[in-house]
Structure formats: C-alpha cells, structure tokens
Symmetry: C2
Subunit: 764 residues, 2 copies
C-alpha cells in the first residue's frame, strides 16, 4: 500500500485538529458542566481541624484568661479582652478589633462587704455574716476583693424586717405561700437558688411587697454528699462552706437604659434610671446572697408554720424549714447592702444635664476568617469572657476552647488547601453576666447586617461537667438546624474513655444513650431560652442559633461551684475534666465541626420541612391545650379555635411547600445557589415581629421562640399568644380586647408561617 | 534535502499540539479573564424597546380599560383587572395572576344622590343640588351611575347647620379663621380643593368641631378662562359646570381595619370600625363634593366678614367670598349624604360574631419578565387601575402605557437576544383611589420579600398634561436614584414637536429648561410624598422609588378634569395629548428606560454619595432651622444641638465611606458583585424604624422620608423628629419627655445613618 506524504500529513493534521476540538470541548464541558452536586463538607478537612485542637493549648489559654478576678467594666477584664485579641491575632485571625459600648453596670462597695445581722431584743449582735468567702487555694485565689459576696443591680441600703421563707421564689411558690396565710408585704424574702433565674425571684418578691431579699444555695442541691470538708471543694466539686453564687438581678436583656438601640457614646439613651426602676427592669430593694453556713443561722431561728415537704432542704442537716414571718426568740434581722449603679450616661432632663463621673466602657472582641467564596455570609461563634470572679469555668472554659478553635482552623488553613467558603466570625462578649449586655448591644447595633448576612450563631458559654451532652437542655437549637447538631455530634470522638470502652465511640452515642427521644429516634433537643448570648440573636434578630454545653446529669440546673470564687483552673483540671481536659477539647471539636458544616455546605443546611413537622406534631397541639384551658365563653372559644384552625392549615401548607422546595431544587449557577441560600436565611427571619411580642421585654420579637416573661432562663413557645391567653385566664370576665388580642396574636404567627411559604417560593 | 515522513509528521504533530495548547489557553483565558468592566446598559436594546412602543396600541388599551365606570370593588373593575391580565398574557408576561384582599370600602346610595338643600325661613326649598353630573359625550359617558357626586368614607346622614367658609382647609386656614373670630364648632365647613389632601381638610374640620363639610373646585383653579361653555370641557380641558372632583376621605393608607398586616381572608383584622372612627382614620361627619355651579348658590348667600384677599376665588365672577357663619337672609342649609361602609370583615366581640353580608374583594394583578441572571432581584413597575368613574386619565393613561411597555419588552425579547438580567415585575393595583389600599396590602403581605429582593419601585399614576416633565413634583425620587432619573430622561426623545424645533431633543432638555435647579446643575427633583402607590414601598418597606408624571405647568396642583366623569378617552386623545398620544408614548419609553437601567447594570445604580451630600447640604440645615425655632430653654436647646452635631458628624462619616465605597470597588466574581449589590440594596433599608415614626400613621416607618402627618400628599423630612419638635413648639412649657423625645428621634436618624455606613463596609 502506497501513501503519499501529503495526504498522510493532512490526515495527521485532521487528527490533530480533531484532537484540538475534542480537548477544547472537554475543557469547556468540564468548565461549564454542573459538577455532580454533593452537599457535604470535606471530612478530611474537619478531621485535620479536630486533630489540631490540643488540650495543652486550651490549658494555656485558660490560665491566661482566668488569672485575676475580671468583672465586666474592670481593668482586669479589659486585660482579658486584650489577651483574647492577642491570642486570636497570633493565631492569624483577620481584622481583630474591639467593639465598645457605654453601659449601666452595678458594683458593691468592696471596702464594706454586705452583711446579714441578727440582733437580740437588747440590740446586741447575735450573728453577723462576714460577706466575704475565704481563699482556699492561695495560688489561684488571692486577687483583691475576690471573696466579696454580692448581687449586681441590687437596691442599695439597710433594711430591718421580719423574714419569710419562699422556697425557690417561683410564681407557684408565691401563690402557695399566700394560700398558707403568710404575707410577704414589708418582709425580707428568703429564697433558695434553682428553678429559674434569680432576677425573676427578686422581681416577684418586690411585686409581692418584700422590702429586701436573701438568696442562698441549698446543700440539697450543691453539697449532696454532705457539707463536711471531706465532701466539698477542694476535695470534690461540691460547694464548700461560706461560698456563694453571685449574679445579676436585672429583669431583661442588654443595657437597661438603651432598649432597641446600642449604647454607643454618640447615641442617645432612650430610658432613664428612674424609668428602669419604675418598669421593674431594676429591683429597688436591697438583696444579697448568703452561704448555706449563714442560711443556717437564719433557718434555725425562723418561726411559724413548717414549710411544705418539697420546700425542705439540707441546711442544718435534719432542721425543719419554717415559713416565718420572723424569728421565734425576739431577735431582729437587718441586711446591709452596698450597691451602686455606674455609667457615663448623660441624664438629659428639663433644663439639667448630669454627667456621671465614671466612664463604664465594655468591649466585645471580634475577629474573622474570611470565606473564600462568600465572604459576606457569616457563621458566627461566640462566648462571653467577663466573669463574676475568676471564671475559669463560667465562661473561660469556653473562651479557651474558642481561642483554640480559631488557632486550629488557622493552622489548618496554613498547612492545607482548606479555607472556609463562608466567613467564620469569632466573638468574645463582654458583660454577659450583667444581663447579656455585650451581645445584646452588638445585635442591636448590627441587626440589619446580621439579618442579611448571618447564617447561624453558635454559642458555648461554659462546660458544666464531663460526662455527656446530657439532659434535654444541653444541645439547644431550632427545628431547622436539629439535623446539623446531630450530624456534627456523630463526627466528634467521645472524650470519655469509659464511654468509649462501653462501645459509644462518639459524643453523639453518649448523648443518645442518656437522652433519647424515642418518638423521633434522636436525642432530645429543645429550643434555647435566655441565660446566655444566643438569646438576642434568636429573639431579637431571628438568626437561628445552636447553644450547647457539656454537663453532668443532676437534678440541679447547674454545677455546684457556679458563680463562686472557686472557679479557677484547679477546678477545671483537677475536679471537672481530669483526663487532660478531654471534654474541653471535645467542646472545641464540636464547635469547629458545626462551624465548617455551616461554612462549607454549598446549600445551607436549613431544614424547613422539620420546622413544619415539629409545628404540626408538637407546637400546635401544645397551643391548643392552652387555648382550651382558657376561662372564656363557648362562643369566644369558637372564635379563637377558628383562627387556630387557620393557623393549623397554614402549617400544613408550609409542610407541602417545604417538601417541594427540598425535592425540586436544582442548582444552575452561583447566582442560583446564592438565591436559594438567601431564601433559606430569609425564611428564619419571618418570625420576627418588628413590634415585639412582650410589653415587658423589648428584645423579645420572635413570635415562635422568645424568652419567657416569667423565667428568663426558659423559652416561651408562641410568647405573644401565651401572653394574651394568660391575660384572659387570670381575669374572671375577660374583656373583648383581650379576646381580640388572643386571635390577633394567633393571626400574627400565621402571618409569619405564610411569610416562610412565600419566601421559599421564587416569586410573589 | 531529504526528509523522512516520520519526523515531518512529528513536526506537524508538534505544531498541532502547540496549536491545541495555544487555542486552549486562549479559550480558558477568555473564559477566566474579567471582561473590561462597564456598568452600562446596551443602548441598542433600549432603543429597540422604545421603538416598539406604539401609540396605536396605547390607544387600544386605553379604550379597553376605560370603557365603563370601574370603581374598586365593582364587577366592572374586576373586568378591567381581567382585561389587564389578558393583555399582559397576550404580550407574553410570565406567571400573570391576581392577588386578592378583603377590605373595607365605602359607597354612596346610587339610587339616592347626595344633595345640598337651602330652605327659606318658611321651610320652602330655595335650592336643591342635583347631586349628579350630566352626560356630555354620550358615546363614552352613558354608564350607569357615572354622574353620581360623592366622597368615599364620608359619614352618613343629614345635617342642618350654619355654613362657614375656610378657604383650603389647611392648618393655617383654620388658625386664621379662629383669629378672625369665626368658630367652626357645630357648623358645616365649606372648603375648596387644592393645597393638600382632601381627607386632611375634613379631618381638621371634624377636629375643629364641624358637623358636616362641603368641598368644591374653584373656577380660579379649574376654569381659568371662564365658566362659559366655550371655555370649558368639551371645548377645552377646563372643568365644566355641574362637574365635581370625587375622592377618598380616609386619613391614612391601606385597609383601615388591618394596620401592619394584609387584609387576607385568613388573617385577623386588628382594628374595629369603631376604633377607626375613634382614632380619626375615618371621618364620622357627612361630607359631599359640589360643583362650582352649586358653590355659587352657597357663596352668594353667606354672610359675615369678607374673607381675606387670598381666600377669594372666581365662583360667581366678581362675587366677594364671606366667612359666615350662616346665610344672611334667614335661609337654612341642609346636606344629605348617603354613605355606607362595605366589607366582609368579621367583627369579633365579647360573645358576638357578626358577618358582613357583602364580600368586598379587591385584586391586584401581577406579572413577570424573569431575569436571565438574577431572577430573584425585582425591578418593579406599577400603576393602579381602579377609577372613580371612567378613569381614562387617572389612572388608565398609565395602565395603558404600562401594558404597552410590557408588550414592547416582550416583543424585543422575542425578536432580539435581549432579556433583562434582573426580573421586571409588572403591578396593577386595585383600590388606590380609596387610600392606596391595593399597594399597601401588597407591601404589608410581602414586606420581608421586598426588603430582600426589590431593587426599585417605579410608579406612574397618570399623565396630567402634555408639555414637559414639569414642576418640581414631577419626577420624584430619593437622592440615591436621582442620577438614574436624569440619565434615563436624556435617552427619551421629546414628544413635543414644538420643543424639538426649539432645539430640545429629549424630555430631559424640556425638563431642565422649565425647572432647572441651578445649584446642582440638573432639574429639580424632590422626594415623593403620598398620593400614589409608591408611598408604601418607600415609607413602610424602605424600597427606593421613582414616581413620575407629565403635567402642564399651572399653579393648580392637578389637571382640571381630575376625578370627574369626563375622564374618558376623548379627553386623552382630543384635549390633553393631541399629537397621536405622543406623551403617553414618551411616558412608556421613560418607564422602560428606567426599568432596563435597574435591570441590566451589573452594579446597581444606587448613589449613596449623593445621599450623604444632600443630607449635608440640604436636609440637615433644614432640620437645624426647625430646631432653632423651638420654644425651649437655652440649656435644653444646647442638649438638642449637641445630638444634632453628632448626627451631622455621622453624615460626614457617611460621605467619606460612600466615596471610598464607590472608588475602590473592584469586581472579582459573581458572588462579589452580588454581595456589593446586596449592600447597596440593604443600605436603603437602614432608614426603616420598625417601631414607626408617627403615632397617627402605622405605615410611616422611614425616618428620613415619610408622608407628612398634616398633609398626606407631601413628604415630611425626618418625620419622627419633626413630630417631636412640633409637639414642643405648641406647648408653652414643654415636658422633659418631649425634650428627650426630640433628642431620641435625632439619635434614631443617626442610628440609621450609621447603619448605612456599616452596611457599605464588608465586615462588622
């Protein structure tokens, strides 16, 4: 066979051209074709981040952040802020800076401790409390004024009055005391901690006419193995003699003088101190906390009826608690409380202008890891750093873990090809202890931006134990994000050797083992209430949140050394998390895992179908029960139930639309993915009623999930409706406007549900 | 030279491979490189759209839409809604559908016309008005009840009382009348149209104690060449004998029974009719409009002092207007007004449930041209379609033009490669005439979606003349969009042959010629007030708007046949726009040009720098003037001025940040352009105070631009501050809370300005 060169060359050229075309087509096709769509994070990346989180670093951060007592507003706390900023910058976070606010704080007189004094009928002192807890581990606890026992925003003054005992000071307790014939008016209210926020106890006491209040921790809760030295701190985690829980009494969130708006120096403050007293934001009666040692001095003297069985506790061992009023032996009780409000707030009145002398500036710290693809979408992680004393548990167990998350992520960025697609924002909040002030002012300042850009806010206040993600309260989130909380937990190795050897390899396994929700087949997850910095994000801005902690399962709602001066690194390392801070490390790993899921999934993991399901299966039936419990006429009840039925229909519609949205979405291009994600973010915002759901709490704007009016630690489902319903229930003859208000509030929730339906659609 | 085949082939292959590489590099490079950034629309596309807009089609649409009297809530108006939907669908718009609302409307008794009756002292009728205007062009005006003279939401009933004349019924007029010693209490208030919204006149009359009111159009305004038949309609555009202006008296916007929320059948209505009367949303006194022919019967009888010079008009030629009270000859005045509220609203009270018998459903029409790149960004065009009678001018001159814009755009899409990058949404509003009801309910229903997705709302209610974009009110927009309004006007050919031959080639040239703003070098542009459907977009949702019209320059604020039965196609074609509807066509062209600029510019044309400049140069000095006019002590004034200075600083900060934002932005990729555009959109929303700026008007939420409390047609700059300032000015001894409220409102504006600054930045 003979070939001439030319045709052969032509043939080669043809092949070459064909090749060019083929290669180019392939390149273009690859370039243009939709990559097979997977919506998962790269687990190698998160594995690396998890591995990079080291106990040694956490321990180091912990020591730095809890070296001195660092009360918000103090120089020591400013030093902690700078230490955090420094740690973050060293880790490599971008644009680390402070966000300052000028707020109203409250301090005791550190030179004159508060005291409880008992005098006999001759006026001689029978007992006087020291008002200061003793140093037990001098190496860690010798800071000035560390032992001072006090409560923020207590009224100032000296009060002598008879004492009454009111158990935990819940609404039920006050009602029962009344039924037992004991009047709180003009008395000093003795109440124990637990079963709700301390500020609500005092608020109720003041409303009932009390002229002072004393709070104590009952050994029943905090020294369950006995109060002798072998069974309490520093030998165990239980609370020792002469120790007290400090805390804030503010009723509400954020700077009390600047509702809705940030307390920036250049902005006006809408409320006066007098108004804050008048509306109950601040208590006006003197209040102080006492140790169970001091409580014994009171308890053993109280006369009157025996307190009911479930009001009894372990103060004095077998001592029977009595209700009062007063002491049986003619002795008199006096409490001395030194308390001062401090601010640099200008008071503008008719013709006078007063400037406070002391500038009280708090400052949050913020830092970034900029996202590679969507830098304007924020996955926010946060924890507060201010403490009542040293705060090595609350909050600096979290502060240390967060700093290590930042460091480990930056290490991963520097050592691998990973960088989050969306921006991860690190937040350290100031003045949380005084009433979520730093985070609330931040949300008030940036609410418009957060509503557009924030994907999620993930809060970890502090660890409270070492055994598990335990009890229903300990991973809290909204229904749209439950699956993320679960998925992330499945990826974090169990920090407990014991649990691991029992075959529970991940934190999820222990969590599910201890708190299964059998109906849904995963662990129990509730919606968060107040009590930490996630609250303003969810309640005021409608940004969905995850709030988590590690705690031991006990009936008591927190850990025994909570808000005492004994929260120093010794407690973390030698009492709570003894296996080289394995729990602190697991906390950091879970935080990182959650963050990366929200930062890297192409389509945001927001499950509106679950929201609809939970509404239908759980929330609406609960609502119906409380409607049926209303004290109204049949015809009025029918009107309410009619609107309820319409709400119920809307929830069903949402379920259908959400399923369709999930099933049919396909992703054309960047614009389209961004549009889909915007709809998912926006759907969460639909539940914010700009006019609020509660007259008492300006930051409660979420019609489905807001902080309860009666207990700031709990969540109140459908707060607007519930407020209207309970208004009716307490009145014998409900007025028409209350009836209309119940229906109106149901309709407002329905409007929010319809908003989600409309938002998921691509056009009006 | 000898070559073996193989090397040669290799060489060819090498070249081919090189070629492959080169071509591929070129392809990839082209693909990846940022195209040179231009932020302009393709003028060939818009030229084609402009050319496709035809007068013949507009004429045709006009005839269809104004065939019958089509009052909102009537079957005839439903037919118009379907005719619009049909026209849009024929043009090819996508997803055309109706959005229904159930609202409170008001009608007269068409079988019993309203009347003014004058009886002599013996009780004999000296005069009785017909209450019905005559048919003049039977071909176009023979619809049933077309001539009925009435005002919506007037109180129902018969009142006999003395008459007083109060000029235009402005706040000043009422004050001056008082100074002249005439009391309005228990009188019938006679007021002429002009200088403000009629509903505000009646509101003030009722507040002053009037028991009824009569409104008339003064020939001074509406028949400037005389009232004889040669100088009025149908020979000229001036108002003829026996003609009246109809209209609504509602004080506020939207369904009076559903503030904040849409009047959907499934949602509750928050306000009762009684509450709407009590808070002044609805007048309770009988009111009717009369012709100048009937006004003469009243004027010539009124006794009392001569009215001031500027209260005089042309009723009766040289007749001197007097103030009253009452007639001089013992005659008595009675007005009979038949007015009924209609709704399907359920009234839920304590134990009773009442269902209205008549379902009053209104329905907006909506349709889309989906954007090719960002379908979830909406450029919204709108006009209402309901009319008092035939409405061929108000509103169907606009309705017809909008339908033709839709058709011409779709023709362009079908015949060229053009399609808008963002979605263009077409809106036809119902019940605008009753109080912007259709658009307000729409904005209330979709406010969350609009705040995320709406780029701009462009409103054109109706043409009012043929000469120019004239007078300061006739292209109204916010400072951020002024440059777009100007740029678009430069691209639309002048519809006036006369103007063209004078060298003014575009509508911009005439506009600039008639209303130059010499300081800024472009035509005068003001911020829109109320009076049409743009108001809820700007005031409630913070969506920036452009509102434009074509009108003749006269001192009178509208056209003479406004809201009469003589607004039929004859008027458009033979009296107002006689050159083959050239002005209607130019209106459509301007609308399209604006729409394409907002739909196609890669970076949204939102100029925040101009906003900052206008604040600094114009708004803040105006505010300072009104602060300095306050009746307060020096020390209080200083407090206010201190906050003013801080606001002023924030405006300066905004200017700097806005300039930097403009100068330094570079566009990396689709995500980045979207992020920049989101920031521009979001910055407009910063001015919405979710808690509102006015107690009287729940839809006023824009802290910079809201509808004035005292005149619904005007814009009130810094309404929240102004409301607080005027509270103080009217009181001799302002209370502290008022002083605090002024400062607070200044601070709220400042908060909005800071929000824009923060929003323009890419991180917190």
């Amino acid at each position: 066979m003979k070939w001439t060169g030319t045709p052969m060359i032509i043939s080669y050229i043809s092949i070459a051209v064909l090749l060019i075309i083929l290669v180019c087509i392939t390149i273009l096709a690859t370039h243009h074709s939709k990559r097979k769509f997977t919506n998962d994070v790269n687990q190698t990346d998160t594995r690396t981040i998890q591995d990079n989180i080291k106990s040694e670093n956490i321990k180091n951060y912990l020591r730095i952040f809890s070296k001195e007592p660092h009360l918000s507003g103090s120089d020591a706390n400013k030093k902690v802020a700078y230490a955090i900023a420094n740690a973050w910058m060293e880790a490599g976070l971008e644009d680390v800076h402070m966000l300052p606010y000028e707020v109203l704080l409250s301090y005791p007189d550190f030179e004159n401790p508060n005291s409880v004094v008992i005098r006999n009928s001759d006026g001689e002192e029978a007992f006087r409390s020291k008002g200061v807890s003793p140093v037990i581990i001098p190496d860690e606890q010798s800071g000035k004024y560390a032992g001072h026992q006090w409560l923020a925003y207590a009224g100032n003054g000296t009060v002598s009055a008879e004492i009454v005992y009111i158990n935990h000071g819940t609404a039920d307790d006050f009602e029962n005391l009344k039924l037992m014939g004991v009047d709180v008016k003009d008395k000093i209210a003795l109440m124990r901690y637990g079963h709700g926020f301390r500020g609500d106890k005092v608020y109720k006491a003041q409303q009932a006419g009390a002229v002072g209040a004393i709070l104590f921790s009952d050994p029943w809760d905090v020294a369950q193995d006995g109060v002798d030295s072998d069974h309490v701190y520093p030998k165990t985690i239980w609370m020792p003699n002469e120790s007290v829980q400090r805390g804030s009494l503010m009723h509400g969130h954020g700077d009390p003088l600047s509702p809705y708006y940030p307390s920036k120096i250049e902005l006006f403050k809408g409320k006066t101190i007098k108004e804050a007293y008048d509306d109950g934001t601040l208590p006006s009666i003197p209040v102080l906390p006492v140790s169970y040692t001091t409580a014994l001095q009171l308890m053993k003297r109280i006369s009157g009826l025996d307190a009911p069985f479930d009001w009894q506790g372990s103060v004095g061992g077998n001592l029977t608690y009595k209700l009062g009023p007063g002491f049986g032996n003619g002795e008199k009780l006096t409490i001395n409380v030194h308390s001062e409000l401090k601010t640099n707030h200008k008071v503008v009145g008719s013709g006078f202008l007063v400037c406070g002398l002391i500038r009280l500036r708090i400052q949050n710290v913020i830092g970034y890891i900029r996202g590679s693809k969507e830098p304007d979408r924020y996955v926010m992680l946060g924890n507060h750093f201010d403490a009542w004393v040293y705060g090595s548990v609350d909050p600096n167990s979290g502060t240390a873990a967060l700093a290590e998350v930042a460091r480990a992520m930056m290490q991963t960025i520097n050592e691998t090809h990973w960088r989050p697609a969306r921006t991860i924002v690190f937040n350290a909040w100031d003045a949380e202890e005084f009433g979520l002030i730093g985070s609330t002012e931040f949300v008030e300042e940036f609410v418009d931006i957060l509503q557009k850009r924030a994907v999620v806010y993930i809060n970890m206040d502090c660890i409270q134990g070492n055994s598990s993600f335990q009890s229903y309260r300990h991973v809290e989130t909204v229904p749209t994000l439950e699956h993320v909380a679960i998925e992330a937990a499945k990826r974090v190795p169990n920090p407990s050797k014991e649990e691991k050897s029992s075959g529970r390899a991940t934190v999820y396994d222990t969590w599910m083992n201890v708190f299964p929700d059998k109906e849904v087949g995963h662990p129990k997850i509730r919606v968060p209430g107040g009590g930490s910095d996630h609250a303003p994000f969810l309640n005021f801005a409608g940004v969905p949140v995850v709030n988590f902690k590690y705690k031991n399962y006990t009936a008591y709602s927190t850990y025994p050394l909570y808000h005492t001066m004994y929260e120093t690194p010794f407690t973390n390392i030698h009492l709570m998390d003894t296996d080289d801070l394995a729990v602190h490390r697991a906390i950091g790993q879970y935080w990182a895992e959650l963050a990366v899921m929200f930062a890297d999934k192409t389509v945001l993991p927001v499950n509106t179908t679950n929201l609809a399901s939970v509404m239908i299966k759980s929330y609406l039936p609960q609502l119906k029960t409380s409607i049926l419990g209303m004290n109204v006429s049949r015809i009025d009840l029918d009107s309410i139930l009619e609107q309820y039925a319409l709400l119920s229909n809307s929830a069903q519609d949402l379920l259908k639309v959400a399923i369709r949205f999930q099933d049919t979405r396909q992703y054309h291009d960047t614009n389209h993915v961004r549009a889909v994600n915007e709809r998912l973010i926006s759907s969460e915002r639909c539940f914010i009623n700009p006019r609020g759901v509660s007259k008492h709490n300006p930051s409660a704007r979420h019609v489905m999930f807001s902080v309860s009016d009666s207990d700031a630690y709990s969540n109140s489902l459908f707060a607007g409706i519930q407020n209207a319903v309970s208004m009716d229930s307490y009145e014998i003859s409900p007025s028409t406007s209350n009836l209309r208000e119940v229906i109106n509030q149901i309709s407002i929730v329905q409007y929010s549900v319809i908003c989600v339906i409309n938002t998921l659609k691509d056009a009006i």
